[in-house]
Symmetry: C3
């Protein structure tokens, strides 16, 4: 199994679990919990594929990530009371998911010859953060990433590096660098509690 597939898998599980936990927090029923798991995990990719006019979003053409999301949701339903102890693990997994999805989004842009810097960054960002935004909209919350975390910024920086590195080396190195940079920025910010500024009214 390739490294990028492995981190994509970890990311899918992490995103699905975060969706399921939000759904439980909002007292949704089992269908709601499963739907939130799926949309958080594959929503970003669906937005990306819709914008670049794919014939069918990857998540529909290949159901494996939806199946993983459903399995993750069932896992959360069964072990709900035990999961809350592992917040740190979930945050690490979520950061891996952000990094993996950012790298994959940038890779999809390059594959489709949409390799203008602005497009690479936008598609990477949407792939990495779109699912969480949909989750929060459905949960009637202002999306988490707009509020106070260095989350989107990690994704944007990683994608910018993808673009730069991809010009000089191959796809593979660009993808791993993007993954590593996004992950490191995100983890450093969690660890040191670094946030973007807001305007005090």
């Amino acid at each position: 199994m390739e490294f990028i597939s492995m981190v994509e898998l970890i990311g899918t599980v992490a995103f699905a679990i975060s969706g399921a936990l939000v759904a439980i927090d909002k007292e949704l029923d089992y269908y709601g919990i499963i739907f939130f798991a799926i949309i958080t995990a594959v929503g970003g990719g669906i937005i990306r594929d819709t914008l670049i006019n794919e014939n069918l979003p990857a998540a529909l053409a290949n159901p494996v990530f939806v199946i993983i999301s459903i399995a993750s949701a069932i896992f959360v339903i069964v072990f709900y009371r035990k999961i809350n102890r592992y917040t740190n693990v979930l945050q690490l997994f979520d950061a891996i998911g952000l990094a993996a999805f950012t790298a994959i989004g940038a890779g999809v842009a390059a594959e489709n010859r949409l390799d203008m810097p602005f497009v690479v960054i936008t598609l990477a960002l949407l792939t990495g953060t779109g699912g969480g935004v949909l989750r929060d909209v459905f949960a009637k919350e202002i999306p988490f990433i707009f509020r106070k975390e260095i989350y989107a910024v990690a994704s944007i920086t990683g994608a910018a590096f993808y673009y730069l590195i991809d010009r000089f080396t191959g796809d593979g190195i660009a993808m791993y660098s993007c993954f590593a940079i996004t992950l490191i920025i995100r983890l450093v910010c969690i660890k040191n509690d670094i946030h973007l500024r807001r305007i005090v009214k």
Copy 2:
């Protein structure tokens, strides 16, 4: 007039009325009421057509369902005080709408040769429930179908039967079976007040 067209018409009216009633409940203006009627009735089909990359969503290519939605909204505006007495009729109509739109969504998947089970079910579910989800998002509510009704489950089950029956017989029988199964599950659950479980925190 074909049977499926007739139930589609009933479903459009029911969905449009439900949208208009939510808009009135939220104290929106006339434009808001009409827009909510339209988006509830045709929103699911638009999401479906966008995902499968149609050149133009069916609701735009053929305005008849939008016109029916506008007429339904005007009907609600005029007869608002009398409609509330007929909650039972509206629930029956809404169940017909769910069943009709589910069958149509599954049929669109088959027509476009997207006949993998997962895709058929997803497109049927999105067609049947997408409009209501958009309505609730715009109304600043957590979508109704995530909370406590056997609604999506009826649609998913109906679509699964579509897929199975479509493999052995023709499109037509699959469509009517899907319609009937979705409708019956939904009505039985309304009648007996059956809900999906939630997790008690």
Copy 3:
């Protein structure tokens, strides 16, 4: 610089500023402020391009409007305390934006030979108002345009005139007429505090 490009520029700035102000009001961070500015300014066009199946939304193919939006957001961040004095100017700019985007949306419909009246009006309306709807959904508000302003109605009327005039004269005259009619209706309604009716429960 063509007149329509100039008003598009003014409209982009006005929409971006309105997005940034909503984000500040919701106490979002710098990323949130910039994202809200972008999505308000280019969201309507992205929805339009997605529905008509463009290979890449105009806002992605050409980043100039996103760059203008980011610059507008930074301007708001720096001069936040002074901007509030100029509500009237912002309302005028916003009306110009609505009129410009409506005209551009109608023009895109005509360019793509989607010149059925219903499609022209829908695409014009989505281009003119879609960004504001997305802004309000992300801000956890029921979209402003559904509540109590003659906003969508101005856009719809302008687009209807576009369709009528386009049949007898050229694109250019239709576009300017659409712009002028939308702008005038919107300004007259602001000036005289005219609203659509609501239903009193």
